[in-house]
Symmetry: C2
Subunit: 537 residues, 2 copies
């Protein structure tokens, strides 16, 4: 038997049925009724019996909750909406998807059924085989309900602009509601999917927009927009390419603890945990652990995991919890061995996205238009003094050892783009004075260090350096920075028993995705973002 | 120039040098000396000048700290120890590795150089080209120091049992210390690598063992043992196979927040965080978020990340922070669609380890011998009542709806192994009474639920279920369990707007690795374990 046993659910027992159908269904129906697991979809449907016998009985209704009953054995094969094309014309197919929209028009009901980034039009028209009641039932289903539909694939006379499947539609044969949505939705997918247009667009004011907090408060619905479906698939792609490339280069994946006994970056901006009778902290970076893995002979390691920052920054680009893509690598003579690996990692991520996530990028751009991301292969590498000169030529006043302010960082991005036509570049040789104590000084310079940042569309997405691998020298540099040696004893101890020279870096996953796509808020690329004001859902 | 410019480091300026060498080196040396970055490896070496000119000058010493200087440009090509085989005989190669052991014997010094799981013997013998001073220098290098060695690959007359490379050794030509280890080691790799033998082994008492806490306190050294090198490579393999397989099956990787505003599993055993002016909790499971992703149309998702349990359990198998491999999947009619995916996931993990991590498994078994892991393909699936019967037949008294105690779980594992010859099996249809409120009841049974655990060597490594996807029914079940509806409002809300039937499960990574390898403590497979008494390193 198929799962259509639940068909009586729409009738509250009043519906007139063919004998054969009743015979098939009564046994299970009786059992289910006893359990009160039948539901009534829509009262108007059950009362609409004035036209006598419903020729579509057994072809539509609300399914009994799918509970994996032994008695429901179906060999029904479902087709993915994205695969329904003209080649399937005149075949009947089953789909399971969400009712995106439905619009009744006389004896017709036009529905759009959505499946992730794809959608198809479904047409129900009163006919010899489709009853008035069936069409009315279709038009009364709540949006966002999950439905099983059987329909005949039919070529459309003209392209359907509102669907991903533009050349075909389904002519309905059966429809079963699998899971009902509430009648009132806190936001509509249509509104949440509406393309962002320029300020000068005169239609802009007429369209309802969904604000960020409404989206995030109702993330379960918001995530269903085609753009969001694509964003998080692309984000998964970034992680996949990162891992595949590093694994191919001999890196070992490690897992580093998030609960630590001392603040990893000096004590500021750290979350405190009650740990049994004592306290612990949430790691702000896996750096110490990556370095310990290097000192522990793993040679090349990466880790992907949550990173925590107790910064009270309420900006478009700060989160209190984000995903760090971290790597650390021993090298032979020069930290550029590592910079080259990281540079080619990014080039490969950009190529991989461009080549394998074209459909996702297209879908996202339909809602959030952006210039395609440009990059050079091999990537552009500038030294810090060059950047300072470029900024000075553009009128910025800054000292040789000043850090880049956020506005200058962005200006530099524009200057680099104008000059080199790339949205990604590496800035090497940051002044030692503005980097942490464990950064290896450049032995050939009085001011520079062996450290680097990397930028996408003018914003930093990676910070890294050659780390000091000699415990004595580390103590010397810590003292120079007036760091309390006792507090970092465990860190220093990691280098007492021989450690190869090494360098690495940490990448903020969400920033990479936000900037690659040119989005305006990091919350758009964090599935369940955390900021100083948001801990839910 | 090559990096041997640091050679004068051994001499404190007293060493007699050839003019040409001095010429080459003086410029850089002077600069380096000024910076006081030269080190003296061993005073005995520098004082050992009674024999006149050292014919090996410039062939050994302590390298200046590798700081990525422009002046160090080397085209030296290093060979991996694992690749040094008889085919390379009579070639000179460079290796960088750790000095595992060195043993002076007259005019000879036998060294073993280690590189992760591999090791090779290096021989220094006083000769026409190798000075007495050079050999003495070799014998005085602290164990665990990192060294660059040039040597001629030479066939050995008989196999070298103590090295991974048994048929060849290196006859030394140059040796440079890259990073010195402290003289005193808190533990010796030889001790930490010693095979675990049965209690009846009479040698057992004579060998020094390293206890767990000493290992963990000095994890940077402990991680260097061949077994540990292999364990964490194999662990990375489990994650890789997990992801590759699920990605191939259309699963999307997601990242779920670790900081949440309410305890995910009811409030017990949860760590509290100070979150700005309020509080937050550390997630005990990503389950709610996986389910929200399903309600948000991602269809099939997985996530790998830290999971936190504030349980004061000081056992061999509990950690307060571990790595969860979680998945959740929408299905069409029956949760066995999901159980089958998880079952084949495990089969594929076991096959992948067996086929691609043979060298790691062999290395680990040399220290921790164990019976090879046995599994069936497809995996064995038993129902709970069958397990109860097996236990009763073995003399256990238990009710139909009693949970499995840990001893009974293990006994059952032995019974299943004896009967079916498998170390992995699925136990389906757990009694509803002992599962959480969100578990879908079995509609065909009064006591069973659509839930399952999976076991390796008699211990649970996965727990999962079909979850209730209907908000009304979820409320009904929550009330039945006397769960406060208000506290789980956000969870219930996730299912108000249509959700496909779905099931999933959570796997403890460390348990999988521990049990696959038959290890006796979960701390052996957590790189930096956390338990109620350990937050360091």
């Amino acid at each position: 038997m198929t799962s259509k046993t639940g068909a009586t659910g729409v009738s509250d027992g009043e519906q007139v049925k063919s004998k054969s159908q009743l015979k098939k269904e009564e046994k299970l129906a009786a059992k289910a009724m006893k359990k009160e697991q039948f539901k009534t979809m829509n009262k108007t449907n059950t009362n609409d019996q004035e036209s006598g016998e419903d020729i579509s009985v057994g072809k539509y209704g609300v399914l009994k909750m799918i509970q994996s009953s032994k008695s429901v054995v179906s060999d029904r094969v479902f087709v993915d909406v994205k695969n329904i094309m003209t080649i399937l014309a005149d075949n009947s197919v089953w789909i399971r998807g969400r009712l995106h929209t439905s619009r009744a028009k006389g004896k017709q009901c036009f529905m759009v059924v959505r499946q992730q980034q794809w959608s198809i039009q479904v047409l129900a028209v009163v006919s010899d085989t489709i009853s008035k009641q069936f069409v009315k039932f279709c038009s009364n289903i709540n949006k966002e309900s999950i439905v099983d539909i059987k329909g005949k694939v039919t070529r459309t006379p003209s392209k359907i602009g509102s669907c991903s499947q533009q050349d075909v539609e389904l002519h309905i044969e059966e429809l079963w509601v699998v899971s009902q949505s509430a009648n009132q939705l806190p936001l509509l997918i249509e509104d949440a999917s509406r393309p962002v247009k320029g300020d000068d667009d005169e239609d802009q004011g007429l369209n309802i927009k969904v604000n960020q907090d409404t989206r995030l408060d109702n993330r379960v619905i918001d995530l269903r927009t085609p753009a969001n479906q694509a964003i998080f698939r692309l984000e998964a792609g970034v992680c996949k390419i990162f891992r595949d490339l590093l694994t191919a280069k001999g890196f070992v994946e490690i897992h580093t603890p998030k609960m630590i006994n001392a603040a990893s970056e000096g004590g500021a901006n750290v979350f405190t945990i009650s740990y049994f009778k004592g306290s612990a902290y949430l790691a702000q970076s896996p750096q110490l652990y990556k370095q310990m893995a290097i000192a522990g002979d793993f040679d090349r390691v990466f880790t992907i995991g949550a990173v925590f920052r107790a910064e009270d920054s309420n900006t478009y680009r700060h989160l209190t919890e984000f995903v760090g893509l971290d790597l650390e690598m021993a090298f032979k003579y020069h930290y550029h061995e590592v910079v080259d690996v990281i540079g080619s990692l990014f080039t490969n991520i950009f190529k991989g996205l461009r080549d394998n996530y074209q459909s996702e990028i297209k879908t996202i751009c339909e809602q959030y238009p952006v210039e395609p991301f440009k990059f050079l292969d091999p990537p552009l590498k500038l030294e810090f003094p060059t950047a300072v000169n470029m900024l000075r030529e553009a009128g910025v006043e800054m000292g040789d050892e000043d850090d880049l302010s956020t506005p200058n960082e962005k200006l530099l991005g524009r200057l680099v783009k104008a000059k080199y036509d790339t949205d990604f570049y590496i800035l090497d040789k940051f002044p030692l004075a503005i980097r942490p104590f464990y950064t290896m000084p450049d032995p050939d310079s009085k001011v520079a260090s062996n450290s680097y940042d990397m930028f996408m569309r003018g914003e930093e997405i990676l910070s890294g350096a050659q780390r000091i691998h000699d415990s004595d020298y580390l103590i010397e540099r810590a003292k120079h920075h007036q760091v309390d040696i006792e507090k970092i004893a465990a860190y220093i101890d990691a280098f007492r028993y021989g450690c190869p020279p090494h360098a690495g870096g940490g990448i903020g996953l969400e920033r990479v995705v936000m900037l690659y796509l040119g989005l305006d808020n990091i919350r758009k690329v964090s599935m369940f973002p955390r900021d100083p004001k948001r801990l839910t859902p």
